[in-house]
């Protein structure tokens, strides 16, 4: 492997990681409070989760394409990719937050209220800690899929490991494709293992 290729691989890997971290952070910041809100509004829950599922079914390349002509969110470059990746990451995090909180034993919630906890205290001291393993599982699923989907970001000039893959496809160069695919796969595996380890730490009650 030439030193040039190695350096390029490192740069693209960091770019890739950066896309994923920003997308997951923004998605989590929206999806976790959103999930909590949805547990308070059962009517809203069905329609919004349905909407998120619909987004999930749009092929990722098409979603990037749809976003291109949009003002602010769209255009060529990383911010369009981040918007799309965020949209994909929302559903698993929201859904797992909702499942985690609605899965809290009703007797536990009843006791918490009857003992004089305020709704805030019930949320922060009872519901969220008990939902944490489910929320973390949602984050893990979102992160792993986002690492894969982010390779497509190169198609709209957002960089990342997809650059190698698209170049490799264009020049029928298998080594080039692998130079993008292997680090992406490795990154997904490390993220999966690492987040699962954190998840296990928090589920050990």
């Amino acid at each position: 492997m030439s030193p040039f290729l190695a350096r390029e691989m490192l740069t693209l890997s960091f770019q890739h990681l950066w896309l994923v971290v920003i997308a997951i952070t923004v998605a989590a910041a929206v999806a976790i409070p959103g999930g909590v809100l949805l547990t308070r509004r059962p009517g809203l829950r069905r329609s919004l989760l349905g909407f998120a599922s619909v987004i999930e079914t749009v092929p990722s390349l098409a979603l990037f394409g749809f976003l291109l002509p949009l003002p602010l969110l769209g255009g060529i470059g990383p911010h369009t990719a981040i918007t799309a990746l965020c949209l994909y990451a929302l559903l698993p995090i929201v859904r797992n937050t909702v499942v985690g909180i609605t899965g809290v034993d009703p007797a536990v919630r009843e006791a918490a209220v009857a003992m004089g906890m305020t709704p805030q205290q019930v949320l922060w001291q009872v519901e969220l800690p008990l939902a944490l393993p489910a929320v973390l599982a949602g984050l893990r699923i979102a992160t792993v899929t986002t690492i894969g989907t982010a390779t497509i970001a190169a198609a709209i000039g957002a960089g990342g490991l997809g650059v190698f893959i698209f170049e490799g496809i264009a020049s029928v160069n298998t080594a080039m494709i692998l130079a993008g695919a292997i680090p992406a796969a490795a990154m997904a595996l490390v993220a999966d293992e690492g987040l699962e380890w954190i998840e296990r730490k928090f589920s050990r009650v």
Binding site: R109, M115, G116, V205
Partner: protein, 251 residues
């Protein structure tokens, strides 16, 4: 000199849920040291009455006066912290230790750490769970009877004048239930609290009650001491007594 107000005074309480009158014109007072057992069939409104006392369901007519002050005028969170509550399914926090569970209410009330620890040790000892052995354990590793002992310790922890019990021993096996019922009597002698106790088990009512209030279709059917209850003054009380001897009287 006027006598001190009753711990709990329920005055002509009616309660509607979804257009249906679940409770009708309930009158009841409870003094310190007294256990009033609400006895009735499933769905007769006895649990609803507990929830009204705790401010979880509003009264539609009449009022409930807790410690000389109408429930509607209390800050609901402060009032609930001043009333112990024990439920059938325990409702312990699985992510908290036994000691933390028992100390929940004093902690919400902002007790200092050392006073809290002392009180938790006292109540855990009182319910028969030595704190050095059980305090650091999690509810997951406890038997049903032990879980409910923690539930009772939690209800007693902030030294509330009134305790509410919603079929607390209903989920336990008969032997454990009997142990906890006997323990309940010891605790009552020791802590001298007012207690409102819901059950559908007439045997339990006869064993634990200072007074039995028989509820039928949301109204008070009969108020009697356990001794008086045995004479079967109403049809509903006779129905409960018949269940007691398994119908052998009719054979």
């Amino acid at each position: 000199m006027t006598p001190p107000p009753a711990v709990l005074d329920i005055r002509n309480l009616s309660c509607r849920i979804a257009e249906r009158e679940v409770l009708h014109d309930i009158k009841l007072t409870i003094e310190a040291g007294e256990t009033v057992v609400l006895l009735g069939r499933s769905g007769c409104g006895k649990t609803t009455l507990l929830k009204c006392v705790n401010g979880l369901i509003p009264a539609s007519r009449g009022e409930i006066v807790f410690q000389g002050r109408p429930v509607a005028e209390w800050d609901p969170f402060r009032m609930r912290r001043a009333i112990g509550y024990v439920i059938q399914d325990f409702g312990l926090f699985p992510h908290w230790t036994v000691a933390a569970n028992a100390g929940l209410v004093p902690k919400l009330d902002g007790w200092a750490a050392d006073a809290l620890e002392k009180r938790v040790n006292l109540v855990l000892d009182a319910v028969g769970l030595p704190p050095h052995e059980f305090g650091a354990r999690y509810p997951r590793g406890l038997s049903g009877g032990q879980k409910q002992r923690v539930g009772i310790a939690r209800a007693l922890a902030a030294d509330p004048p009134l305790l509410l019990f919603d079929e607390p021993f209903g989920a336990l096996d008969p032997i454990t239930r009997f142990e906890l019922q006997r323990h309940f009597l010891e605790l009552r002698a020791h802590f001298h609290k007012a207690a409102l106790f819901v059950t559908h088990d007439v045997r339990e009512a006869l064993m634990l009650a200072s007074r039995i209030v028989l509820i039928k279709n949301g109204t008070v059917d009969l108020v009697a001491t356990p001794g008086e209850f045995l004479s079967g003054a109403t049809e509903e009380s006779r129905a409960f007594l018949a269940s007691l001897d398994g119908g052998r009287k009719n054979e």
